[in-house]
């Protein structure tokens, strides 16, 4: 349905209407709300809407308990927390934990690793779903295209344990390719235990798992490009590659900019399980990222307050990055993850 309206729309793809973003601030919805006759008393509105309110209770209750309560629990970052004394009786120590954290070189190593991975994947992962989407879009047979889509989306639904296990079986030290090499008198592959190759390895895994799934949004944007533009360009003598450059890529531009900004806003998150699972094999020098730092340096050894401080710093910096990225998106005339009201 979204597809349909988009396809018949103007040349530039409209931002898809179902973005999570538009939540609170969907303009049409907002107006409809304000247009209701004023002066309806609270009691009248309660009588009208109590069933709706009741329906939101289970989900909001779960969020209150499992999201907002632990958010408040971050006070332990300012304490010398011990489970025996609990939240109420643990002494407050101000910003001590943050001081220790910011002078801790292993924290900065983890931060550097995280940012390196982000930048590397922006260069070597980010363009691939775009290229793959253009390629899939050029497949003329609908059946073949559906088959290809089915196959390339699939690995997105595999768990990280599974993906890493599959990689081990094929390119690991005891994997299929290593077996083949050894039988022919060569040494086995050591990609999966080599700290220097770790950046390549994790990027290859992300490509295998998610590049296909990542095409969905670009395929939608491609479908929204006005076909008449292509026809007119072809009539004017523009070949395949010129059409790609002058029509396809400009048509994808809004989506590309949006995803790029979102990814930058999310710089501190490179995924947790992928690194947790491979940290032992390559060592922490290469594989320690911020999330695994919180786990191994603190939770695993019971330094609760220190770990909470590290988590809080990451959360706050991440929040600022998202807000800044969103602001930049608005400045550039794109829709961010939310709209201003």
């Amino acid at each position: 349905m979204i597809d349909h309206t988009a396809r018949t729309g103007p040349g530039r793809p409209e931002p898809a209407p179902a973005a999570p973003a538009d939540g609170a601030a969907r303009p049409r919805a907002g107006r409809a709300g304000r247009d209701r006759p004023p002066g309806k008393s609270l009691r009248a509105r309660l009588r009208r809407d109590w069933q709706l309110l009741l329906m939101t209770v289970p989900a909001l209750g779960l969020l209150a308990v499992f999201h907002y309560t632990p958010t408040l629990g971050n006070v332990i970052a300012f304490q010398d927390y011990s489970p025996y004394r609990g939240f109420w009786d643990s002494p407050f120590v101000g910003f001590d934990n943050f001081y220790w954290l910011l002078t801790d070189t292993s924290f900065w190593d983890a931060t550097l690793n995280t940012l390196t991975i982000t930048v590397f994947q922006l260069v070597f992962y980010f363009p691939l779903p775009i290229a793959l989407a253009v390629l899939l879009d050029s497949v003329m047979s609908p059946r073949l295209r559906l088959f290809l889509q089915t196959v390339v989306y699939m690995p997105h639904f595999f768990s990280w344990v599974l993906v890493i296990t599959l990689f081990q079986q094929i390119i690991g030290g005891a994997g299929l390719i290593s077996q083949l090499l050894r039988r022919n008198g060569y040494g086995g592959l050591e990609i999966m235990t080599d700290p220097d190759a770790f950046l390549l390895l994790v990027t290859a895994e992300v490509v295998w798992k998610d590049a296909g799934w990542g095409t969905i949004i670009f395929l939608a944007a491609l479908a929204a490009i006005n076909q008449n533009l292509y026809e007119a360009a072809a009539a004017d003598g523009a070949g395949r590659w010129r059409r790609l450059w002058h029509i396809t890529l400009p048509g994808l531009r809004p989506v590309i900019v949006l995803l790029l900004i979102l990814r930058l806003g999310d710089s501190l998150n490179v995924g947790f399980e992928q690194f947790f699972l491979q940290r032992d094999a390559v060592g922490r020098q290469a594989a320690e990222v911020l999330d695994t730092f919180v786990y191994w340096r603190t939770l695993a050894v019971g330094e609760w307050s220190y770990g909470a401080a590290a988590g809080l710093v990451k959360g706050m910096v991440g929040l600022v990055l998202i807000l800044v990225a969103n602001k930049v998106a608005h400045r550039m005339g794109e829709n961010g993850i939310y709209r201003r009201t």
Partner: protein, 301 residues
């Protein structure tokens, strides 16, 4: 998405070279995705002789044997883990879908009482997570360590799924529910009789997201489940396959018939397949809804 059924008249036919290059790239991509799965499935189904001859993974089929699966499902670590994972996935998906559908519907009418602040509470979870350690302390202070509820309740409501669902409900014309309301139907009736039947696609997709999430959940179990006997399948997969702990040694084997046991590699690959199959089985039924645009806009987030 499949809008072009035939090449438009103005487009030039590709040269054989272009056609060949395209086929080669697409073929390589298919191979990269499907080959590892093929090898793993084949090895898990191969008799001991084939695995020994290959000296590892089996690439060329040489006989079939279900011995590895028979062994794994004869009781023991893997059987138990499958039961745990199936249980958590089933109960979790039911709870998640029910709470998400209700809240998405409850928040689908702008202008209703408290609509904006409640929606804001949902959206705020996108921007800031509570952090690993406070979450752990909460779960442990609720006494849920080593309880299966710790694998369900903390992740039961996903704001992204809620927003996807809400956006779909809001796209249903208001006239539909308005007319029912005039006829005296309550919200519950409108949701179950009118709105849900019109939302099968989005419900299937969100249900798949939740189910896959529960089935694949790994780190929550690392944090919250200390008792090995309660491990879900992903932890077993990690222990016995990724970290290569020898599975045929003692943990499940009945040593009296050791000679007829399937080889360790076939057992390991069978565990991989068991972790893979439910995802592969659910996915094609839901996949067609991806292309109907249900989530296309929402994937952005």
């Amino acid at each position: 998405m499949t809008l072009t059924t035939r090449r438009p008249a103005w487009a030039e036919a590709p040269t054989p070279l272009e056609q060949g290059a395209k086929a080669a790239v697409l073929g390589a991509i298919l191979l990269a995705v499907l080959f590892p799965i093929y090898v793993v499935v084949l090895t898990s189904l191969s008799p001991a002789s084939a695995v020994n001859d290959a000296g590892g993974l089996v690439v060329v089929p040489r006989g079939f044997s279900f011995a590895a699966y028979a062994e794994l499902f004869a009781g023991g670590v893997v059987t138990r883990a499958v039961v745990v994972s199936v249980g958590v996935t089933t109960v979790g998906t039911a709870i998640s879908l029910a709470t998400t559908v209700l809240a998405a519907y409850g928040l689908s009418r702008p202008g209703s009482l408290l609509h904006r602040p409640l929606l804001f509470l949902v959206l705020l979870t996108f921007l800031f997570g509570p952090g690993m350690i406070p979450s752990y302390l909460l779960v442990s202070s609720l006494g849920m360590i080593d309880s299966y509820w710790s694998l369900i309740l903390p992740t039961a409501v996903n704001a992204f799924n809620l927003v996807v669902m809400r956006a779909f409900f809001m796209s249903i014309p208001a006239e539909v529910s308005d007319s029912a309301r005039v006829d005296g139907a309550g919200e519950w009736k409108i949701l179950t009789r009118l709105v849900l039947p019109m939302s099968k696609g989005v419900t299937a997709v969100v249900g798949l997201f939740y189910a896959v999430g529960y089935w694949n959940a790994f780190f929550n179990a690392v944090l919250y489940i200390n008792d090995n006997a309660k491990w879900p399948l992903q932890l077993v997969l990690r222990q016995y396959v990724q970290q290569g702990q020898n599975i045929s040694a003692g943990s499940l084997a009945d040593t009296s018939q050791a000679s007829s046991l399937p080889p360790g590699l076939a057992l390991q690959m069978a565990i991989v397949v068991i972790a893979l199959v439910p995802v592969l089985a659910m996915y094609p039924f839901v996949q067609r809804h991806f292309t109907k645009g249900v989530i296309i806009g929402a994937v952005k987030g």
